[in-house]
């Protein structure tokens, strides 16, 4: 198709700014490249990956069954360390989820066009990650089928004795459930026009299914106008929402009086950490997706580089937060606080602390080298390293602050049981199974958004 001049949005013809879509694509190429994965038979590599994820889900499911049957006594918790892997995994998964909202909402408000190739998959990641996260507090309640009702302010037979709205744990319930449902709606609304595209290419039962999913979308200018308006407002709502979610998660710790937790730096530090780990997970997933589905023309090295720059920034914020924590502990002059941090650095969990420092503070700094941040292999490896580091960050904060409490006679260590490990694996199985299902049956890249920037940001106009 002839690409003519564009009067409303002038083409981005900077020699510094690389094209966002390579390969000289036309509009129907975009449709074809993305919709064909939904339409074709699953490939062998997809089947293998999906089978592996389901296997993990089943193995982890055994740990889940035992936990539900026996109770959380099966975990490695003790009287001193009453919170360990469960809440570590919870915070880790929620944090990972944050990148999806950041990419789709915050980058939309900042008019960053490069988000368009990755926002769909990143939002899917958000939803699945939050689902995995929510499992942990739910199971930790021992009887989730009762707990699920008790966490919401519903009339009950105790008088009614209501939930405690002063508790950050309850704030978490509202934050996580709002975050999950708003993200789901935002994601689905973006999918509707693309479902219509798939509907119009399909026949038979597939046409019926995608027809129902597309809610009768016809692409009328009036509907597009409303759709744009709704997307923009949802982005405006999701931006403070995503900041509130990890702020409230950090309140779970910050509002307590435990040395190492009782710090006002927690909300910004947690939010930065969440974006840091989330972008790393987006990179891990997108590098696999672009390879498996041959989407290198849409998710380019340029996209990877931009995400790596976000990782440098957020990783540096996290690094500064670690150092600030140490400084404030020393400067406060409070012996309990000073001991908590000395114990982190040199106590029995020092190995975890230094893994955290290496993975989160040193490893992202390697991305200052252009050759590394534009290398797919190096990015893939480092994105996993970052998420290992971020898991250890939460472990260090939670377990090292608890294991040596106010009374030396009650000091203890935490050792995970196979059930702790199994549940963590279960969430990995769940996350990847859902992600692979998404990647097969839903368009992984937002087709209509890519088409809307094709004229201004593709290789043709950028030459």
């Amino acid at each position: 198709m002839q690409v003519t001049s564009h009067d409303q949005n002038p083409p981005v013809t900077s020699s510094v700014r690389a094209p966002l879509i390579t390969g000289g694509k036309t509009y129907s190429d975009v449709t074809h490249d993305i919709a064909r994965h939904v339409e074709g038979k699953p490939t062998k590599s997809w089947l293998l990956s999906f089978a592996a994820s389901v296997a993990l889900l089943l193995i982890g499911g055994l740990a889940m069954l035992v936990t539900l049957w026996e109770g959380i006594g099966t975990w490695g918790l003790n009287k001193t360390v009453g919170w360990a892997w469960d809440i570590t995994n919870f915070v880790w998964w929620v944090g990972i989820g944050h990148a999806g909202t950041l990419i789709s909402a915050v980058l939309l408000l900042f008019r960053q066009r490069w988000r368009m190739a990755i926002n769909r998959a990143a939002e899917a990641m958000t939803i699945f990650a939050v689902l995995c996260a929510a499992l942990f507090p739910l199971i930790h309640m021992g009887r989730p089928w009762i707990g699920l009702i008790w966490v919401f302010p519903l009339p009950n037979t105790y008088g009614s004795l209501w939930v405690n709205f002063n508790s950050p744990l309850l704030w978490d319930v509202f934050a996580i459930s709002t975050y999950f449902s708003v993200s789901l709606v935002f994601w689905y609304l973006g999918l509707v026009p693309d479902f219509a595209t798939i509907r119009d290419r399909a026949t038979g039962i597939r046409r019926k299914i995608y027809g129902a999913l597309s809610l009768g979308w016809d692409g009328a200018a009036k509907t597009w106008m409303r759709h744009e308006s709704v997307s923009l407002i949802l982005a405006g709502l999701a931006t403070p929402l995503v900041l509130s979610v990890h702020t409230i998660v950090s309140f779970d710790f910050a509002t307590s009086v435990i040395p190492g937790w009782h710090t006002t730096i927690f909300p910004p530090y947690f939010v930065a950490g969440a974006i840091f780990s989330g972008f790393a997970m987006v990179l891990t997933l997108m590098i696999i997706t672009r390879k498996v589905f041959k989407l290198e023309d849409y998710i380019t090295i340029g996209h990877i580089e931009l995400m790596n720059i976000v990782i440098i920034i957020t990783g540096s914020i996290v690094g500064i937060a670690y150092i600030t924590e140490l400084f404030i502990a020393w400067y406060s002059g409070v012996p309990g606080e000073q001991y908590a941090f000395l114990n982190r650095i040199s106590g029995p969990y020092a190995w975890a602390y230094w893994i955290m420092m290496t993975c989160n503070v040193i490893s992202p700094q390697i991305f200052w080298i252009k050759k590394i941040r534009t290398s797919v292999v190096a990015t893939f490896v480092l994105s996993i390293v970052v998420n290992i580091g971020m898991w250890f960050e939460r472990f260090v904060i939670i377990v090292t602050s608890l294991h040596r409490d106010y009374l030396p006679s009650s000091w203890a260590m935490f050792y995970p049981t196979i059930y702790d490990i199994g549940l963590y694996l279960f969430t990995f199985g769940l996350f990847f199974s859902l992600f692979f299902l998404f990647a097969k049956f839903f368009p992984v890249i937002n087709m209509f958004e890519i088409k809307s920037i094709l004229k201004s940001s593709s290789e043709k106009v950028n030459k």
């Binding site: 704030w171 595209t197 009036k222």
Partner: protein
């Protein structure tokens, strides 16, 4: 002639041609039924003369409703229905109620607005859209003109205008 039944459909390959066509068609006194595009085209709503959507207003009022409901719920439950002292705080500890108030505000605002959007745009799983040209969700822009609304102009004139403005195809389309 019956309205909303017989249409003349112009197919365009390029969004800039479509924009020019919309101006030219309206300029020559022809009423446009609707434009169907595979992706949103900025400024199209103004060119078609659509009023700005009031969905943001809906979002605001649903949000306000959320704020009020959340505050009333928390204050009535913990302040009056079953007051319990927690951590030495007042029964009505407003700062502690802010997080939940914020979340419920966002939740109602988002769901209310999306609900209004779905209803006003008739988007529901069992909706059967009228498809003027199946390629309009792929790579073609469709400009639909209701013949019954433009009886004074005449069908041939409409087709000529569409062709002059760069339509690659001009088709007749009827719906039962």
């Amino acid at each position: 002639m019956e309205k909303d039944k017989n249409f003349i459909v112009g197919i365009y390959e390029d969004e800039d041609l479509l924009k020019g066509a919309v101006s030219a068609v309206r300029g020559s006194g022809i009423k446009i039924h609707e434009v169907y595009t595979p992706y949103p085209i900025h400024g199209m709503e103004d060119m078609l003369g659509y009023k700005r959507t009031r969905l943001p207003v809906a979002a605001f009022f649903f949000g306000l409703l959320g704020t009020c409901l959340a505050l009333v719920m928390q204050i009535s439950m913990l302040g009056y229905d079953w007051p319990v002292i927690v951590g030495g705080k007042d029964h009505v500890a407003l700062p502690a109620f802010i997080p939940v108030t914020f979340e419920i505000t966002v939740l109602l605002s988002a769901f209310g607005m999306v609900g209004v959007f779905l209803v006003s745009s008739n988007l529901k799983p069992w909706s059967q859209p009228r498809i003027f040209d199946i390629r309009s969700t792929d790579d073609r822009h469709v400009l639909a003109i209701d013949v019954a609304n433009n009886l004074s102009v005449g069908q041939d004139r409409i087709k000529d205008v569409l062709k002059e403005t760069g339509a690659v195809e001009v088709n007749d389309k009827s719906f039962e």
